[in-house]
């Protein structure tokens, strides 16, 4: 909570999603599919096999009508820093092919499709189900290949894919900065497709180290939390919710556990150097 900003050039790109604002509309998912050439099939109802870089989960408070409440939780790749922020993300440490690595300069976990041979260890290791396997070759019927984005490679059968925090947008923003003779990026220059598309501005994106970026203060707010914090995966995707039952859903807390306290402890442990 009281973690000091590091005055270094390294960035820690992260996301803060305000669940009070998320309406579950699905714009983030569709914008992501369109941006990242995510393929689709006729039947996508088998969710274990449906390719998604960001999913929106629906949870409820379990109370009967009319006291029911629901909440949507958009889940991209959490871009785990691992303990002590050393890039010891669950997926990176198990990949036998070095097809996924942790970028120390941005904190983004990569996935290189040409390198991946599809063993799916990373999928087993990821506690967030952020990774998806290509069980089939992609197919774009009629003239749909024409809308594919050249900034992102199309994948093939047999490889794993996941959210990249739209790294290609980071590259493009940096290119523009280079040409304009700048070193630093403005907050709005690099935004993921989902953050840009979110119609209610529930998703905000930026450098968690940079006090000028809105995610800096938002991620430090009292109602901020992350998913499965006790695993010390140290995710860079934060959530905000004014509702205590939503915050409680973030981990498998036992009945009677003071989850806010546990969370605080876990966060401090993860941030200790």
């Amino acid at each position: 909570m009281t973690q000091q900003p590091q005055h270094t050039k390294t960035k820690r790109y992260g996301m803060v999603i305000d669940l009070d604002k998320c309406t579950g509309c699905g714009a983030c998912m569709v914008a992501c599919y369109a941006e990242n050439n995510v393929p689709f099939r006729q039947d996508e109802s088998d969710k274990m096999r449906s390719l998604n870089w960001i999913r929106v989960m629906k949870v409820d408070n379990g109370k009967p009508f009319p006291d029911t409440q629901v909440c949507y939780i958009p889940m991209p790749c959490m871009q785990c820093d691992g303990q002590h922020m050393q890039g010891h993300s669950p997926c990176v440490s198990v990949c036998p092919a070095v097809a996924t690595d942790y970028d120390q300069t941005t904190g983004i976990v990569s996935q290189i499709y040409t390198r991946c041979f599809g063993c799916r260890y990373c999928m087993a290791a990821c506690p967030y189900h952020a990774r998806k396997f290509n069980w089939w070759d992609p197919k774009w019927p009629a003239d749909m290949e024409k809308y594919l984005n050249p900034d992102v490679s199309a994948r093939m059968r047999g490889v794993v894919e996941k959210c990249s925090f739209c790294y290609h947008r980071y590259q493009k923003a940096r290119d523009k900065a280079y040409v304009e003779g700048r070193e630093e990026l403005h907050e709005d220059e690099y935004q993921t497709a989902c953050a840009q598309a979110c119609p209610t501005n529930a998703i905000t994106f930026g450098d968690l180290h940079n006090p000028e970026h809105s995610v800096y203060s938002r991620s430090r707010s009292k109602t901020a939390f992350r998913l499965l914090e006790r695993l010390n995966t140290n995710p860079k995707v934060y959530y905000l919710s004014s509702k205590s039952w939503v915050r409680r859903k973030a981990d498998n807390y036992l009945e009677g556990e003071n989850f806010e306290q546990i969370r605080e402890k876990a966060r401090k442990a993860a941030a200790t150097h």
């Binding site: 070095v98 097809a99 996924t100 690595d101 942790y102 970028d103 120390q104 300069t105 983004i108 990569s110 290189i112 499709y113 040409t114 390198r115 900034d151 992102v152 490679s153 990249s164 790294y167 290609h168 590259q171 493009k172 923003a173 940096r174 290119d175 523009k176 900065a177 280079y178 040409v179 304009e180 003779g181």
Partner: protein
């Protein structure tokens, strides 16, 4: 092997003698070395001609010695690469010289509104992201450092394509052993990039830096 055969020759005189075996060994050795060094490269690479010849030298002079007159950065920071037909047409809508290549360009491409299918010597696989801006603007590198002195060439050299991988020979470099300086700028395999990055920036970089 040959010691063993000597013993056996003594025992049974109807086997070929040791030196015959050795000669065969040498034939195999020499033939494979020759074919590996001489025939293999010829077989591995197919030679392709550019659709039309192009004189960089003349253009460079006309354009004030600036590569970026034709190979420029767009406003969004992306690099334009080879000029498009539209860009070439801004000068060559009609013949400017009596050059036969120019005439061919106008007949076959301008008049038919077709892009010239240039063969790009430094073309990288589609999974590679290369930022010209980072190198040229960020690190202040010269074009020739990687691309060689192509700007002063008067005609396009032949393009060699690897029959297996499908990419240009320039990526590996002409020398099969990758020894010495490359003839045309720099070699451009992943390790070449990493080596230079390690030297210049202290890190080979991360995967996403160059892969998409």
């Amino acid at each position: 092997m040959s010691t063993q055969s000597d013993n056996q020759t003594a025992a049974a005189g109807n086997r070929s003698s040791g030196w015959v075996v050795f000669v065969f060994f040498m034939i195999g050795l020499v033939a494979s070395i020759i074919s590996g060094w001489v025939a293999f490269p010829k077989l591995l690479y197919s030679t392709k001609q550019q659709p039309i010849d192009f004189n960089h030298q003349v253009h460079l002079e006309q354009m004030g010695g600036q590569c970026n007159a034709c190979h420029f950065f767009r406003e969004d920071g992306s690099f334009s690469g080879s000029p498009t037909l539209e860009e070439c047409k801004s000068c060559h809508m009609y013949p400017m010289t009596g050059n036969e290549n120019e005439q061919k360009f106008i007949d076959e491409y301008v008049n038919q509104d077709k892009e010239v299918p240039w063969l790009i010597y430094a073309e990288q696989p589609p999974c590679v992201f290369f930022s010209h801006a980072a190198h040229v603007k960020g690190a202040d590198m010269q074009c020739a450092t990687c691309h060689g002195d192509i700007g002063h060439s008067t005609s396009l050299r032949e393009y060699q394509e690897n029959r297996i991988s499908g990419y240009s020979r320039d990526i590996w470099g002409k020398s099969m052993l990758r020894l010495g300086e490359a003839e045309h700028g720099r070699r451009q395999k992943m390790n070449d990039c990493a080596e230079c990055h390690l030297k210049e920036t202290g890190s080979k970089g991360n995967c996403f830096q160059c892969h998409k």
